[in-house]
Amino acid sequence: MGTNDRKKIRNDIILAVVLLAVAAAAMLFWHFGKVEGDFAVVLIDGVETARYALDTDTEVVIHTDNAGENTLVIAGGKAYVGAANCPDLVCAGHRAISRVGETIVCLPHKLVIKITAASDAGGVDMAA
């Protein structure tokens, strides 16, 4: 193995370590910087259609384009998708969310459920 190959492998390792370190730092920042939210906001195609308080247990069916249906469940201060008729069911498999900024996304239905704080007036803030 030539010195050039050795150098490349060293660079590979540096690249992997830097990426993992940045992700770890971001994860720590995310973990400690986030607070529990107050509302689960429903966005269809980027437009807010409803919001539900996390302190009230409820179950609602969200209707999206093309007869899409996702059941939003709020229980014990957390929100999750209980059932859906999308093809991949990624949203239904997603863990429950409760912190400000967390989202559950259903790509086929262009649906986003996101957690916000009470102070957030709503709407979409692309600068966030």
Partner: protein, 167 residues
């Protein structure tokens, strides 16, 4: 068989292999169900091989054929835009990374894995107009790096095994 015909035959074969690897990947159970989008990226073994042996244009052509076939067979048009974004950004950055000469195929593959995820997240942020989705990138950067290492090692093994095959 000479020249162009041989090359075309091989590239078609490569597209078929990439398609089969996509199918194998669909069959694999999701590694982490809580976070969508985590994939090992098996077809990238083929793309990396092509990038090194044929160049970026042929790799892009095979990638495009694979995407079209995968969309017809198991996907839907909505998902195609995510696939294209991931594949295009990934191939562009892998080609740059290979050209700069700083990394081995493993480093190139890591860049490919992470940028594939980045491309898809960027499209999701744009299409859903929700910037918060960006935080998925934290987990997807880790999974892209880990998957990239394994795919890069596999790609290297294929390159080594095919070293004496002339096209």
């Amino acid at each position: 068989m000479q020249g162009k015909a041989k090359k075309l035959t091989f590239l078609s074969l490569a597209a078929a292999v990439a398609l089969i690897l996509s199918y194998v990947e669909v069959l694999l159970p999701p590694i982490v169900t809580a976070v969508p989008g985590i994939k090992i990226g098996l077809p990238n073994i083929v793309i990396i091989f092509l990038l090194y042996r044929f160049g970026v244009k042929d790799a892009a052509a095979v990638s495009a054929v694979r995407l079209a076939a995968v969309t017809l067979l198991f996907g839907n048009p909505v998902m195609l835009i995510y696939s294209i974004a991931g594949a295009a950004l990934s191939l562009a950055l892998m080609a740059l990374c290979k050209k700069c000469g700083l990394f081995s195929a493993v480093g190139v593959s890591i860049v490919g894995g992470v940028s594939h995820n980045l491309g898809q997240i960027l499209v999701a942020m744009l299409l859903l107009e929700t910037a918060e989705i960006g935080y998925y990138m934290i987990v997807l950067a880790v999974s892209g790096t880990v998957a990239g290492i394994f795919i890069g090692l596999a790609g290297m093994a294929v390159l080594k095994a095919m070293k004496n095959v002339r096209f």
